[in-house]
Symmetry: C2
Subunit: 302 residues, 2 copies
Amino acid sequence: MQDRDFSKTLKAHATAVERLLGEMLSSAPQKGEIARPERLLAAMRHGVLNGGKRMRPALVIESARMFGGIESTALRIAAALECIHCYSLVHDDLPAMDDDDIRRGQPTVHKAFDEAAAILAGDSLLTYAFEIVASDETELDAARKMQLTLALARAAGLGGMAGGQALDLEAESRTLSEGEITVMQAMKTGALIRFACEAGAIIGNAEAGERARLVRFGEIIGLAFQLRDDLLDLVADSATLGKAAGKDAARGKGTLPSLHGIAWTEEKLEALVAEAQTLLAPYGEKADMLVKIAAYIAQRNH
Amino acid sequence: MQDRDFSKTLKAHATAVERLLGEMLSSAPQKGEIARPERLLAAMRHGVLNGGKRMRPALVIESARMFGGIESTALRIAAALECIHCYSLVHDDLPAMDDDDIRRGQPTVHKAFDEAAAILAGDSLLTYAFEIVASDETELDAARKMQLTLALARAAGLGGMAGGQALDLEAESRTLSEGEITVMQAMKTGALIRFACEAGAIIGNAEAGERARLVRFGEIIGLAFQLRDDLLDLVADSATLGKAAGKDAARGKGTLPSLHGIAWTEEKLEALVAEAQTLLAPYGEKADMLVKIAAYIAQRNH
């Protein structure tokens, strides 16, 4: 596969998931909904249709494809996952949390609307994710929908992403140990990425062993994503990164790259990509895109 | 049934649901969770174990019982619903929303902890509700778990409770029409109460017609609850109500009792209780508790 094809495929997935989210978050109330308040809906759209890289949706779609899962179902689960990811960004940006005014060059939801709208838009995106999974329009048997619901709730909640954000906030008042940093990151960013890969295995009705393999693949991707992010923060300057670089360091937050240095991190990233390739080797060409995503995540410059 | 028995039964349901929530929100991480950050867990417990009346859980338990649903399952769904109700209180109390420092005589979560903890505790309670429904420990077939997940997400989200809260905030800057007030309240408080009654029908595997009957019963209860609440606000003084009375009026919010007066409201409440009795008449004695709950909600003084 050429790199151009890789980029084209990623872009196509992003476009597809954005189109679906745009349709689902149009103004007409769905069956079982009383009404859709316009301003809340606009705040939700602002939070979710913001031109993200849509990496998690691509992982859902490609891992489902590898197991022969229904494409339209994978796309819907990808959209649900993106609702969770984006709700977390909307809430993390709030003044009481990370207090960010700008995300991807646009005002954050609480700046474009107000804080109350941002809180409610986040709550509603989170809730909507579960509505999408359970919806009759999501073509999948109830047993697998339940597995997706359970895995998604665990990845997103107290024992996953939200818990990781709580630990990250704690890190502003005391220095975390290396072990604590690892747990915090596995929860805050790792859990949803792991879910993305596991979801594909569930959608494609993979056997338990294969599902466990995808879970491990997801963990590797999550680790690589975080290491690369922290490495970029350590070395990049504001101009190329497009956000205030060295922000973690300025806040006194320890990261694995800041503890171990650039060379260690680059070696670690190479090892993770190699492990990802070995894990997916049994799937041959079907795993091409997933392996390329792993390499891309480990090597990206933004 | 004696009134003493009625109160005892309600109290027993409240105790059971609180015991279960306390167990589930203990510190040990559950299967599939990486860790449970202590402070976040404490904030969630503060938000949910606060001695509420647990009216919604009682509706789930009693409506499931009427259809012969599994008691332990009804209790778990009741606990999930209470997580949703309590998350909404935690977020509604935030400074950017209703800005309340005290709830049921205790500091609200953002006062006892901080705003970030309150946002994350609310997010985590909301997410945890779906984890409970989908959990293997919830004894119910996947198809009915999916129906519960879907109905709960719709009741709680954009087209239900969260949307209603958004409309309620809008009402602070402009006067809503009577129709808008009705829609807002059907969403903000009605949708979850309706779900409570529908959930019992789903758990008890009721036929479509019976499920629709319970949905209507839930709508009646929701209306009665809101009318009584607004009526109490209109007439009560601070001393007996235990909260700042006339708060809605002070904020300039219109309610149906403030538009139509006390006599109209009392007649309306009587008519709702009568409709509830008629609706559940076919179930005979089995409906006793539900009918008593309807009367209690319409006549309570606090």
